[in-house]
Subunit: 279 residues, 2 copies
């Protein structure tokens, strides 16, 4: 029997997907979790009522979170992922030949377990226990606070700044990210929609600009996220995506990312530039 | 009293907007028309149940439909708009100093009338009867068939390929567009979402490639359209957007468009390139 699951994208906007099977519905220690098979996008993960990822369009988010920072760095070896419990970012990171070690710190073990069970194409690197990958179940904020001069690239694949993700959008957190990175390191974090979540985007961009030599924003089309326009905030110590020149070959295929997208994603519409760069 | 209006974006996906006032609901000779005040996006125009435009995000669509083709042409003087009844594309076209004449042919006079009444910021050029602009109520397909070697730029601002817009997505129509353009002319048409409407995008791209020296596709973020990823198909006789170099100054401000977007919008994700360029 078919039914609809709905995300309240804002107080005044809703996206609803028809599902023919609810695969899991329950509560973890941290959040409400649902996995359902949607007719439009395949299996979907929903946390606290918010659509997180789906089998059919996950490649956009996971490729853009991973390959944009990793190709900007000329030789990333040690990568840290905070969050990313579905395993999609880890799957993309281990594909880079130069990457030797990927550490993923996800707070909610239940998300990892359910992703392995119901989102196997996304959780692929976790399921086959890729030798480069270490999955830790624990608090990413505390983990970051203890790291020092260790990582080439850090990817903060968090949920929204409500619930367990809240502490990942603070000034203190970005100071710790900066400290955890090597001298030429860089990081990226998903920061919602520049159309709908302007205050958040503006706030994070300000924090990152204060902490890093450069703050940059890029965008990608994510069909299941509010407004479809999703942005990623980058803090970088040395390498500037605005003057990027490809420095190594891509040895694997992608469905969204390519070398033109690497640069084009940083071309921001005027309404975004205006509020980001006004200071 | 608040209520919700819903678009069935596909058989399995719905977008709903809360509205506090229905301003108009009725039938024209051609389609069902609704205008309502939505809390998220301001006044919205809905045709046959499909969200067309809204006060708060219309600038994306209208700027990208107008300025991308107009700035690609080094000296557009005579512009034809097919459809575009809300007046947004006309408003943007008349802002170009070099443009001398804009002719708009909209089939549904009721849309023009309602836009003037309820979407005045969009209908601006029609309301103040801009001296460059001529609005004709009539059949764009027939109009195009009679035109010969007249226009520098043609913009097909149509609704979906069901209802009155159907004949604007045929081989014959593109042959007539080609004939209506001058020897160095170019045209652009909205062609839905590359994620959700792949068969349409692929079909139109094939037709345009057969008819024109070059077929090109570009994208923009339209929050109220399915998947948020919207594409525009361009047919051009001489000027190639992929090797574009700015050739004149922009003398007006924009909210979305800028010179980097002009080029970046043509950077296509691999999944789109693959199905477009496979032949």
């Amino acid at each position: 029997m078919s039914q609809w699951i709905t995300e309240n994208q804002s107080a005044h906007l809703r996206l609803s997907a028809e599902v023919d099977k609810v695969l899991f519905s329950g509560e973890s220690q941290f959040q409400k979790i649902e996995v359902a098979h949607s007719l439009e996008y395949g299996n979907m993960l929903v946390l606290d009522g918010v659509f997180q990822t789906s089998e059919k369009e996950e490649f956009v988010y996971h490729e853009m979170m991973s390959h944009v920072p990793l190709f900007l760095h000329p030789n990333p070896k040690n990568v840290l992922i905070i969050g990313g419990g579905d395993g999609g970012v880890a799957r993309e990171c281990v594909r880079h030949d130069c990457v030797e070690k990927v550490t993923m710190v996800e707070i909610d073990g239940k998300v990892v377990e359910l992703a392995k069970q119901y989102l196997p194409t996304i959780a692929d690197a976790m399921i086959r226990q890729d030798p480069k990958l270490t999955v830790k179940i624990g608090d990413g904020i505390g983990f970051m606070a203890q790291a020092d001069n260790e990582y080439d690239v850090i990817i903060v694949d968090c949920s929204d700044p409500i619930g367990p993700g809240e502490g990942l959008f603070t000034k203190e957190f970005y100071a710790n990210v900066h400290k955890a990175l090597k001298a030429d390191g860089l990081f990226v974090q998903q920061t919602e929609s520049p159309v709908m979540h302007k205050p958040l985007v503006e706030k994070v961009f300000g924090y990152v600009r204060d902490q890093f030599a450069m703050a940059r924003l890029y965008t990608a089309y994510i069909p299941i996220y509010p407004t479809g326009m999703h942005c990623f905030t980058m803090g970088t110590k040395t390498y500037d995506p605005l003057t990027f020149v490809p420095n190594r070959e891509r040895t694997f295929t992608t469905k969204y990312y390519n070398e033109k997208i690497q640069t084009a994603a940083f071309a921001l519409p005027n309404f975004v530039k205006e509020y980001l760069l006004k200071k």
